[in-house]
Symmetry: C2
Subunit: 354 residues, 2 copies
DNA sequence: TCTGCGTGCTAAATCCTTTTAGCGCCGGCG
DNA sequence: CGCCGGCGCTAAAAGGATTTAGCACGCAGA
């Protein structure tokens, strides 16, 4: 039975300085530390009397007891903490949605997230991984801002790992987006609207092959082309462009138009290219979608800024982040999850007029 | 004294399963645990012989010893961990730069960052704060995606706190952006180029007053207007608009143009409004910057996507994140730091022609 | 010779929780 | 009667680091 002074001292100082420990709760409840631990963790092992349980819970509540995670993880070996290592947070603006998804997933399972940014430099990656490992997280997510294939440092050993928005050479579990279906959806959407003469803006050779550069873009092309082939169509115009920026979309579309307008729709490989296309099309006095329909990929901010709104496929960053965390926190992560990419239909696609 | 097998077991299995402990190092060096701790932490207290020191260091190196942070922080009370609570990661795309800045700052001081997202809901904020507090971080950053004034939960007690991109009602240390100077810079830039008839796009009453909505927008107006006043100028046109989206910028600018074009330049309150203005101006067959110059705020992605490039003031998110972390990790944080906002001159502003 | 002190090092306590081993008692079984 | 086993609970160990207290020894000064 506690001396009044001691418990009073702890009592009112919640949040400030010292916090109640198991021993404090035990003293207040007139029980042993073990008993308190048992009860507060609802261990089935040995049932304490209902009375004792109630006293303990009451004491814990009154003292606002919350276990010290350092002490707990020292004993148990688990930290209820997940490491989130990303190559580059700032590259893709939307990528913060990936973080959000992961954070939500962790919160739902009562874990907290340690973040680190590692860049693309191998040394810095190793340093970040060590820093994480030192904190003994229960798992690690490698988040890639451009979907790529990476090497996971061997140091990690058998710690559960999920690669987010990419794959690893070691064949670790990963979360990807379903670019094949996305490609098919975009192409089919135009085909269903009656378009038969379609131009491709942002065609490229390198990315299709090398999965170290991108594990997703190859699939995007694959999907587009399979849908075209199934409809018995081929592109009536292609503009090759590796650098998918608005400026390039603008120039590319101009070049395409110079070829004599033998298309009624454009598939742009991303929204920035599409935005450039808008400018080139406006400049010619043509109208979207009346004269030319456009569809693309990413659902970047600009897709909603422009008139008419751009029909595009959303990259489900948030869902992916969430999925990665779920994967990591439920049993042994394995396999490659493909998250569907929803088609956002806006006003840039209409039925073929001509 | 260890059976050979034990140390051999530990020896080669770095990263996997068990890791070397202080006791392992001590055993290998033939010293006491205390001695190892003393040496590895370079304690001045008692000098061990150079020979002993060398043996200890060698043993630690060979075993790839790294201290268990749980054990350490259990003893010391510090965790070398900082909590980063943000209201909403996804609202502002650029805001991820804030995260990056904070991460870099923490890395530089060998701290790791615990992230949590709290939204704007008081309950959820408290839950996030508790989750953080349970992990006993050495400090807390409250990052606000739209710069606002918030209440910091009292629970935090005397833990060092920095409010990032906002202020607290409790007067905690904070990192803000210098919107007054930014406002002045934008206005002066136009004035120096000879513009005397200037329109303001996105004027608004509410935001100017209520610091709970925004602690920065009021200053932005203040800066703009003080520079105008010093030059003896007043706006020749204003469009009021609370919702700073492209659509509204488009309509607003059309309305402004309908008033009879009595301005040669526009100050838009943000880039999205400015983007809308571009569209309205193009539609009239006018040219930027030949007929109308435009300058605005934020340096959003679209500022570089459009032609001509949009002159705007960058929000220094990354620097702010970094500054907040520096503040937190060096002594007692206090005061309000104003991070300068650089003017990005692009092609949307030219000398007055008419 | 004895005291005092600096040197080089270590045993033990401490931080807080979880887990293991087991105590004392009582009722039931053989 | 003696033994076993369940009940309700606790003492003690373990986990890995830091910190405090202090030991043994040798040397210098009185």
């Amino acid at each position: 039975m506690g001396i009044g002074g001691v418990s009073a001292c702890r009592d009112e100082r919640a949040g400030m300085g010292k916090r109640a420990t198991l021993a404090d709760v035990a003293e207040r409840a007139g029980m042993s530390v073990t008993a308190v631990s048992l009860v507060l963790n609802n261990r089935e092992g040995s049932r304490l009397s209902a009375d004792a349980q109630e006293r303990i819970r009451a004491a814990a509540r009154e003292l606002d007891y919350r276990p010290n995670p350092a002490a707990r993880s020292l004993r148990v070996g688990k930290t209820r903490t997940v490491g989130f290592v990303s190559d580059d947070v700032t590259v893709t603006r939307y990528a913060s949605a990936m973080i959000r998804g992961a954070l939500d997933g962790a919160e739902a399972r009562d874990h907290t997230v340690l973040m680190a940014e590692a860049g693309n430099d191998r040394k810095r990656i190793n340093r970040a991984v060590r820093a994480m490992l030192d904190r003994r997280p229960d798992g690690l997510i490698f988040a890639l801002m451009g979907s790529k294939e990476i090497d996971i440092p061997a140091e990690i050993g058998d710690l559960p790992v999920v690669v987010l928005n990419g794959t690893s050479t070691g064949g670790h579990a990963s979360v990807l987006r379903d670019e094949i279906t996305a490609g098919r959806d975009v192409a089919n959407h135009l085909i269903e609207r009656g378009h038969e003469r379609i131009a491709l803006l942002g065609d490229v050779d390198a990315l299709r092959r090398d999965r170290r550069l991108s594990v997703s873009i190859g699939d995007r092309f694959l999907g587009i082309e399979s849908a075209m082939a199934e409809a018995g169509l081929a592109f009536t115009a292609r503009h090759f462009e590796e650098d998918w920026e608005p400026e390039k979309g603008y120039r590319g579309t101009r070049a395409l138009l110079d070829q004599g307008l033998d298309f009624t729709a454009i598939i742009a490989m991303n929204d920035r290219l599409a935005f450039g296309a808008y400018q080139a099309i406006w400049e010619r006095g043509l109208r979207i979608p009346a004269d030319i329909s456009i569809a693309s990929f990413d659902d970047d901010v600009i897709a909603t800024y422009v008139h008419p709104g751009l029909t595009t496929v959303r990259i489900p960053y948030e869902e992916m982040g969430r999925a990665a965390m779920d994967m990591l926190l439920t049993g042994k992560p394995a396999g490659h999850l493909q998250v569907p990419m929803p088609l956002r239909k806006r006003e840039s696609v209409a039925d073929r007029q001509r």
